[in-house]
Amino acid sequence: MNVQTIVGLEIHVQLATRTKLFCGCKLGFGDPPNSNVCPVCLGLPGTLPVMNRTAYEYAVRTALALHCQIARFTKWDRKGYYYPDLPKNYQISQYDLPLSFDGHLEIPLEDGSAKTIRILRAHLEEDAGKNLHEGLDHSRVDLNRTGTPLLEIVTQPDLSDPAECRILAEQLQRLVQYLGVSEANMQEGHMRFEPNINLHITDDDGAEYRTPICEVKNLNSFRALERSVAYEQWRQKQQWQRDHAYTQENHGKQNRGWNDDRGETVFQRAKEEAHDYRYFPEPDLVPIEMDDAWLAEIQASVCELPLARQRRFIEHYGLSAYDAGVLTAARSTAEFFDEAVAARGPAKRVANLITQQGLKIANERGCAVGQIGISAARIGQLAQLIEDGTINASAAAAVFDTMLTDQRDPETIAREHRLIQQSDAAALAVVLAEVLAAHPQAVADVKAGGKKTKKARGFLLGQVMQKTGGQANPQIVNTLLDESLQ
């Protein structure tokens, strides 16, 4: 028996505009209920929506980064929606002429390879408000979120396991954050996922089956996304094994909810009925035409994308895949790294300083690495001092800590703290000569070769380090040792 999992993903991304999609109400999280509302987003009669230009441009910017075709002509449609959290009784969305289509996103898989996931379309639509009914005999409605701009991204069914779904979602989060079009803050529900899952099963006798496509609604974490797809894989197989008539032809599509506490999906309803959205052209909004100049302007706002940047760090600077991943997790970190390297900091040294010290401090303080008090240029200088042997790695760590509050250049700080390595070969030769004279037995052991050589040599080096207060450059001492003990 061969079982293939087929998953397509719908992702809603909240755009980081200041205001809603069709009115000037502020987008705020945690504001008092029904405080960011106006006649337009309350759906009062006689009001007219007006499109937020920034929201449209953010949507196109994202679509370009997803390698989508950009429609030169788009229009708006009403989608029937009968819940009180969207009081117009319809959602303004896009149906047959979405603003973008036919794109793709490359995702890195856990085995180190990459996979291309095709994007069917990406379009703009408005979010609904919130219905709250826990512990009540009625529902409370808060319309602050109503009219928030959402970018709906729909993939082709190219995903084939739960991990791929999570990776795609994570890549998309990093992408929209890089592009500056969304904060993609999971805690505030800026990204929501709806996987469509079914199995293609080939039985041992060659018979082929397709289990019913199940859409899991409204997942708001990477973990819930991954777990729900894994659960559906298991559940659909179980159900088909019990009853081979559990197929798409017999059952059609269905919607399921996710119960995070129990770790399982729950049947909500058959999908046909819900599918009757009765799309209708939106007469209150005029169409949008995109000319070359405007498209070029938006294209220019697309920055280097995260995966491309990660590759550049590996190929151009020779960083490890792990370090490159850490440095490109946030655009601000990646740019800080680029800036430090541009300030003539050797790349690997800079990477170490940022990943081992800078990010640790930034995480503790909850800020970007550029805000910890050390400029990228000074990181570059510090990295140079390590590279040319002026200070060693442990001294650099101490200088780094001092630099957080001391704005002087790293070399001055190192000098003041007596952390400069002694690299003057002539001076070190004098110290070495004293050490050799004081320890004839060790010298004899080294010269004799054999088992004791290594230990004796280490001892002599240690003596030099001690005499110089730990400041001798070990590489130079080693060379001198070679020369005098030949």
Binding site: T17, R18, D127, N131, S139, V141, L143, D276, P281, V286
Partner: protein
């Protein structure tokens, strides 16, 4: 509309619109809706073979607003027309949240 509108179709539409209709109302609306559809259906007699589909009836496009915050209503103003309120919220009959945008 060549086919006649059925009571079943009207029930389906009523259900999608969350409207509870009696059998009498269904019969009445079936007749009324059929008449409306027949009236609008006359348009089908027009030959549109060489006519471009029209997305909007106004010869206007690209009407935008800047992304600038405008004052919202106060909470009391927002709830002034609500048949029922619960503190700062609108209060409505309990809904089961089985759909999302």
């Amino acid at each position: 509309m060549s086919e006649k509108l059925t009571a079943e179709q009207v029930r389906h539409v009523a259900k999608l619109a969350r409207l509870a209709c009696t059998d009498e109302e269904i019969a009445e609306f079936t007749e009324q809706l059929a008449a409306i559809l027949q009236y609008v259906g006359q348009l089908e007699q027009v030959d549109t073979a060489d006519v471009e589909p029209l997305a909007h009836c106004l010869p206007v496009h690209n009407v935008f607003r800047r992304d600038e915050v405008r004052p919202s209503l106060t909470n009391d103003q927002a709830l002034a027309n609500a048949p029922q309120r619960d503190g700062e919220f609108f209060a409505v009959p309990k809904v089961l949240d089985d759909a999302s945008a």
